[in-house]
Amino acid sequence: MIRRRWTTAGLGIALVAVVGVAPLLPRWSLFVVTISLAKGLVALGLLLLMRTGLVSFGQGLYYAVGAYAAGVGAEALHLSDAVPMVILGALAAAAVALVLGLLLARYRAIFFAMLSLAFSMILYGVLVKTSAFGSTDGFNVAPKSILGFAAAGPAGRFGVYGVAALCAFGATLGIDRYLRSKLGRLAPAVRDNELRVEYMGASVRNVVHLHLVLAAALAGLGGALTALAVGHVDPEMAYWTTSGEFVFIAILSGTSSVAAPFVGALLLELLRSFAYEHAPNTWQLVMGVAMLGVILFLPEGLWSLFRRRVRSAT
């Protein structure tokens, strides 16, 4: 109970801090933080899956579905406000996962990874050839308003940033609560021994299916936010390298804390922007070395560095 209050307070402070420093940030970093929040949401979904013992190499599928739904929904349903667009993105991705989950929930380990990869590549192939969605070029996404306020110029960028921060806050809090609930505590149990979970009377497949849908909703949310922040969507969002990047963030941050994915995503985006500036040909190399180091020496992710220190202090 006390821990729960601490988490809420901590996340609340983080939210205030993230929104509070926004006016002080230079323009480029406002964008970087927005994208990190969006990608952190996707990685948060992966964290949920990884706690259940699954690694998905196809989160790009839901990421792209969320982004495209936000863009297409804006036109087809005449949604011009950013908030309903984002919600639509999350719902669309969750709906896709609800259907695909019927099949995916039966798979484990590399077969799960391969099947999710195959699904995301199917979407990529479809998007590339769909001229209505702009084929390989994609299309532009621009909300007219954000919660009723006009979304043009710097105010709009700040608005999207604010929406992303709120989404991240809400999602992190929600997932944290969920993981502490009775159902949420089944996640590590499923990872450790599925048979025992079944003997206890819980349905492993339902737990996995639920987590797939939740992870997809988060990825859809992240995708829709990315679409708003970038102002553009393209099929590359569904390509396997995008999914690989999310896996990278999730591995880097580890699964021990719900806040870790956002820190991991921010690290990655900062690294990327500096690498683009100074050494465009070595940034994947840095990513690869960092990933190897984390897998081999810090299997709990970077967050565990921080944790160990806290524990030794008490």
């Binding site: 391969m114 050839k129 070595t282 990513m287 190897l292």
Partner: protein, 298 residues
């Protein structure tokens, strides 16, 4: 009629190319239980090495036929350098970890090699088309194919036959089979498992590099060329069954024919038709068409 013939011939050519690469991926998985994401990088390394070697060979005014030897040399060089370095230097510390963790480790290797290639060869593209045109064309009724494509098919068949003979017809193949079935018991019986792994990984790397070296004359060699090959090879081995060489052959044929049929008749579905087949196979026979279901160990 001529379209059907074209679909079949194109399909078989594409399948041959795929098989050379996928065979390497599948033996590495079969023996070491590593789904090697770095395979695409080895492919790219093979292509770059081939481009450089052929370039050097031809610039010296040597007989152009020797460029084929250079292609082979490129594959062998990449195999015996990159394979052992990565297996001994990295992977052997990770054996016994979860299969998914091994996938992630090889993904990290892939990221590193992607940039290593850029650092070594730069970002401009390389062209070495000489070996492609050198052999002339082969008329097949109304269609005309470069003889080089025929060479590709022959190489694929040779690789398939050699692997089959190597695994079932030699003493080393029997040791390999023993290691596949039970690593610990094999080690207890005195088989040098480490060496088996090293040889397997080197061979797999060499096959990926051979795929790249043979492709180099047909395309422009550019950074990122291995990215798509990884998922294609994954599709092939998943369709046929992970770890099975005949499965890889069947998977290559399925993917090759599906792709060429899509290209000729329904170009809109070309890109995803392969992954659709992969998803369907996974949905109905998750272990692939060629591998028997495995009893679950508790």
């Amino acid at each position: 009629m001529s379209t059907l013939l074209a679909v079949l011939v194109d399909g078989v050519i594409y399948a041959s190319w795929l098989f050379i690469i996928a065979a390497g991926l599948t033996i590495i998985y079969g023996v070491m239980r590593i789904l090697n994401m770095a395979h695409g990088s080895f492919y790219a390394l093979g292509a770059y090495a081939a481009a450089s070697l052929v370039g050097v060979w031809l610039r010296g005014g040597r007989p152009p036929m020797g460029s084929y030897a250079m292609l082979a040399l490129a594959a062998i060089l990449v195999g015996v350098v990159a394979g052992p370095v990565i297996e001994r230097g990295l992977l052997r510390f990770a054996y016994g970890k979860d299969e998914v963790v091994l996938v992630l480790i090889t993904y990290a290797v892939f990221l590193i090699l992607e940039d290593a290639v850029k650092l070594a060869w730069g970002v401009e593209s390389y062209f070495v088309t000489e070996p492609y045109g050198l052999l002339g064309n082969l008329e097949m009724g109304p269609l005309s194919y470069p003889v080089y494509s025929g060479v590709l098919v022959l190489v694929a068949v040779a690789v398939g036959v050699a692997l089959r003979w190597g695994i079932y017809g030699t003493r080393y193949g029997k040791l390999l089979t023993a290691v596949i079935h039970d690593r610990e018991v094999s080690a207890a019986l005195g088989i040098d498992v480490g060496r088996v792994y090293l040889v397997t990984f080197t061979l797999g790397t060499m096959l990926a590099a051979a795929g790249g070296a043979l492709t180099a004359p047909m395309v422009s060699v550019v950074p990122g060329m291995g990215v798509e090959v990884i998922v294609l090879a994954f599709a092939v081995v998943v369709i046929g069954g992970l770890g099975s060489v005949p499965g890889a052959a069947l998977g290559s044929l399925v993917v090759g024919l599906v792709r060429s049929a899509a290209v000729h008749w329904l170009p809109q579905v070309e890109l995803f038709s392969i992954y659709l087949v992969m998803a369907l196979v996974l949905a109905f026979r998750p272990r692939g068409l060629f591998v028997a279901a495995e009893a679950r160990k508790i």
